[in-house]
């Protein structure tokens, strides 16, 4: 059992904590770094209050034409300047969640991830720890999902070997 799959990244920025906090909480700043290179963030609606909604639109050119993706979510925890927790899921242009079935997943498959941002004031520097929490192992759909992926990993190891 692999358990929950997370990505954790630690960085120290040469900037005061107020500025780094605003990178995450002010739409204008957020849109400047969040999108991949060559992509635009035409929509960044962020109601940074506990229970507040977020709706992010991404637009990029691909060999197959323009591709648009929307992410929706909710702010769960806000400790000004030190801790921010929000959820993220695929959505549509109107901010509705896409159901598991719409995405071709089995009903009840975990569709939501969480992002946890922790900041620490180091004077003129700010230490940031970002954790992207993936498929939770203990969610109803998650168990089967994680097991399926574990099995596939084992299979791949066999294929490579």
């Amino acid at each position: 059992m692999t358990g929950t799959k997370n990505v954790q990244i630690e960085r120290t920025f040469d900037a005061p904590i107020d500025l780094i906090w605003s990178m995450w909480t002010e739409a204008e700043h957020f849109a400047n770094w969040y999108g991949p290179m060559g992509a635009k963030i035409p929509k960044a609606e962020m109601d940074v209050t506990v229970g507040g909604r977020r709706h992010i639109g991404m637009e990029m050119e691909t060999p197959n034409g323009k591709m648009q993706m929307f992410f929706i979510g909710e702010y769960r925890e806000i400790d000004p300047k030190t801790r921010l927790v929000y959820t993220e899921a695929m959505g549509d242009a109107d901010g509705n969640a896409m159901t598991a079935e719409q995405m071709g997943m089995p009903a009840g498959a975990p569709m939501e991830t969480s992002v946890v941002v922790e900041l620490e004031d180091l004077g003129n520097q700010t230490k940031m720890v970002m954790t992207h929490i993936g498929v939770p192992a203990d969610s109803p759909g998650g168990q089967g999902w994680t097991m399926a992926i574990d099995k596939l990993e084992a299979r791949i190891a066999e294929l490579k070997g």
Partner: protein, 121 residues
């Protein structure tokens, strides 16, 4: 363009996951992991019509998980390992996307601070 390709990879990953989100299709892949097989071979363990099985194989083909030979009359199916490896490495993919974003955040905050300094002096 590492970042854009990371997101494109991400979209492809969605497709791979969608294709894998079905027990019949996973069973087909498990079968193919032992070697190539025809649609008839693959259909055998299932209580399903051949067209239904063909449909599942088509989904796997579109996701790049299965390739079909053109040479033989029965067009045997073969498993393609690369997209599976990507699924296994999805945390690596996300790590790349985030690292890239934070590079941009770093650059952006440096620029903001430089502009501010100029204004103040």
């Amino acid at each position: 363009m590492a970042a854009a390709s990371a997101v494109l990879d991400d979209a492809r990953l969605d497709e791979t996951f969608a294709a894998l989100a079905n027990s019949t299709r996973r069973a087909i892949l498990a079968h193919l992991a032992h070697g190539e097989a025809t649609v008839n071979d693959l259909a055998e363990p299932f209580d399903m019509t051949l067209p239904a099985i063909s449909k599942h194989i088509k989904v796997l083909e579109q996701a790049g998980l299965v390739t079909r030979s053109r040479r033989a009359q029965f067009r045997p199916c073969t498993i393609a390992a690369a997209p599976l490896a990507e699924v296994a490495d999805w945390t690596d993919q996300y790590r790349h996307i985030w690292e890239d974003r934070f590079d941009r955040m770093d650059e952006y905050v440096q620029n903001l601070q430089n502009t501010q300094d100029k204004k103040e002096t």
